[in-house]
Every structure is written in C-alpha cells, then in structure tokens.
C-alpha cells in the first residue's frame, strides 16, 4: 500500500525531496569542514615537564602539565576536550616535519676575568677553542656576549669594564677563526651579579662574560 503511494507522488514532490536530500548532504559537508581539529601537546624537556600551558577558549579552559598530555579543539569555537596523555611515538609521527625543522637550542658559556681587567682567567681561556668550534658548526651562528663586573667602582666605570670584557672575548674568538653571521656585545656592568654582594665588594665570580651561540 505504502509503496504504491510513494510511486504515485507527483514528480514535483520527488524533485523537492531530491533537493532536500542534496541540501542536507551539502550542509553536512560544510559542518564537517568547519569542524577541523586543532591539537595542543605538552612535551618534556630533558625528560621532564618544567612548566604548564593553559588553553583558553570562549567555552572553557584546560591546563596541561604532564609530558605528552594533549587537548583537542573542534572547529573555530569549540571547547577544549579533557586532557589525555598521548603515546610519544604517535606524536612524533603526527608532527614529524615540524619536529625535524626544530633548530638545536642555543649553547651557553660563562667566562671569568682577572680583577679590573679584560684579560681572561687561564681556565676560561682554555674554553675558547671549543666555543670557536661550536660557532663553526652552527652556521649561520649568532654570537652574543654580555660583560659583567663585581661591585667595586662606579656604575659608569663598570659598564665600560663590562663592554671591554665582551669585546675582548669577541676579539679572541676572531683570532681563533670564528666567524659568526652576526655579533652582539653588551654590558650589564655591576647591575646583574651572579653572586649577590654588598656594593664595593670584590667577588671573582661576578667578573664574567656570558657567551651565547644561537
């Protein structure tokens, strides 16, 4: 009975139904397209997580604070999913290109100086060939040297002493053949001691230069 009724539907109605079906399909596609999936994953540094990420959307927020923990967000206005811990291998496969493109993190050295001088202490001088080698291997490398002093003397005097120390390190590295793509020297004078001391206090550990190779 039903089948016969359906067959008797006017052609116009059939067309209407067809269009309705087509429109439904279209809207389904559109909905799926707008429901793209975004993913945020927290990674360990040196085997452990040292911080946290708070993921905030218009519809709620979630905190990630464990290695390989992740949230998903569907579409442009979704709420973050409950955090789940992913398999390390799955993350490495899903994010292979971006992980491969990650530069090696910068390398740091601390060099120490004689009292009131731009001359390096013998132990620190021994590190210079290694630093020059790191620069050679990391081309294009950016070298940054920040000079520091102890608290003996005025701010102005120590600012200049810090600059002198930074420049001395760059000059010695140049002699060893290091040719970074760019060099940045600066001084913090006595404003940023490694070991806090009273003013006018001779502290060898504060007579230093911080070397960063990026």
């Amino acid at each position: 009975m039903k089948g016969a009724g359906c067959r008797q539907l006017p052609a116009a109605w059939c067309w209407c139904l067809c269009w309705l079906f087509f429109l439904l399909l279209l809207s389904g596609c559109a909905a799926q397209k707008s429901a793209q999936k975004s993913v945020i994953v927290l990674l360990p540094e040196d085997g452990k997580v040292s911080g946290a990420v708070t993921v905030v959307t218009a519809h709620g927020s979630k905190v990630l604070n464990q290695s390989w923990q992740s949230v998903e967000i569907f579409g442009a206005r979704g709420a973050p999913s409950d955090p789940v811990v992913l398999q390390e291998k799955a993350v490495q496969e899903a994010f292979a290109p971006v992980l491969a493109a990650m530069p090696v993190p910068p390398v740091h050295y601390l060099l120490y100086f004689k009292l009131d001088s731009g001359e390096l202490l013998p132990d620190s001088r021994l590190l210079l060939p290694e630093i020059a080698e790191v620069i050679r291997k990391r081309q294009p490398a950016q070298l940054s040297v920040v000079g520091h002093t102890d608290t003996v003397g005025s701010m102005e005097y120590n600012y200049r002493l810090g600059l002198k120390r930074a420049a001395a390190v760059c000059a010695e590295l140049a002699v060893l053949g290091a040719a970074p793509a760019s060099i940045e020297t600066s001084s913090r004078g006595k404003a940023d001691p490694q070991v806090p001391t009273p003013d006018q206090f001779p502290e060898p550990r504060n007579r230093r230069a911080e070397v960063t190779i990026r």
Partner: protein, 152 residues
C-alpha cells in the same frame, strides 16, 4: 630671559635626539634569526615577501609563512626556539627582552598550521608574559615545550 629659552630649546633638542635614538635602536635591533628553512618558506614584512634563508634577521611584526612543502626553524634573541611545519603562518606580534629595564614579553600569533615552541629567557624571567594566540584558543605559557596544530 634669553638663556632660559636657550635652555628649554636645548632640553627639547636633547629629548628629540634621545627619542629618535631609542626609536631607531628599537627598529633595527633584530628579534631573532632564521636557522633553517626548506621548501617554500618566507617572511612577510610590511607587505614585502622575503625568502626565509638561513641567517636572515627577524624583526618584530614579521609573519613567518610556509607553503605545502615548507618548514622553517628560528631562534629568538631570548633563546626561544621555534619551528613551523608545512602550510603554517605565525606572526611575531610582540617581542620585548630588555633585562636592563625589566621589560619582557612575547606574543606569537599562529593563524594556522603547525608550530613547535621551546621557551627561552622571557618565559623564565617573566612568567605570565608569554602567550600564543590562535583563532581557536589562547595558550598561556609558563616555561615549557609544546606542539600545536591549529586548524580554524
């Protein structure tokens, strides 16, 4: 009277000079450099497209962009390390790293695509001043390493 005007004029002159000097210093100081690039990788700066070759100095406001086969690796001046996967766009919206004045802040805006972020000194010295903004969510970062795939 004349000397007072002279002094004011001199003071104004110094202010202008100092202002111009600091503005110039901020402009030219790079915020980082391109360490590696593959495939289609470029930097959009003030409407110009610059090929993102290793060694290129980056400025605040730069938009890092990759094509379907491109990747890009950069290091910022505070030691933040970043990489972009294919089909990705990230702008260095804000970068302040001035330990002498205690000014710190980093805002990256990921329009779409994939990013690997490893925090540097800004995050360590001023927790709470680092943010990754995306069309789907804002990520508040406290000294860490993360991956994000953003598909708005």
């Amino acid at each position: 009277m004349g000397t007072v005007i002279m002094r004011i004029a001199l003071l104004l002159f110094w202010f202008l000079l100092a202002g111009a000097g600091s503005a110039r210093a901020q402009e030219v100081r790079p915020v980082g450099l391109v360490k590696s690039a593959s495939g289609e990788a470029s930097v959009l700066r003030e409407g110009r497209r610059i090929a993102a070759l290793p060694g290129l100095a980056l400025e605040r406001g730069d938009l890092l962009a990759t094509g379907a086969s491109g990747t890009l690796g950069v290091i910022l001046r505070d030691d933040t390390v970043l990489s972009l996967g294919p089909n990705s766009q990230t702008r260095i919206e804000r970068f302040a790293f001035d330990p002498a004045r205690g000014e710190f802040g980093l805002v990256l805006r990921v329009a779409r695509g994939v990013i690997d972020y490893l925090s540097g000194s800004i995050s360590r010295l001023a927790p709470g001043s680092v943010r990754i903004e995306t069309p789907v969510a804002t990520l508040g970062i406290r000294g860490t390493h993360l991956l994000a795939r953003i598909e708005p």
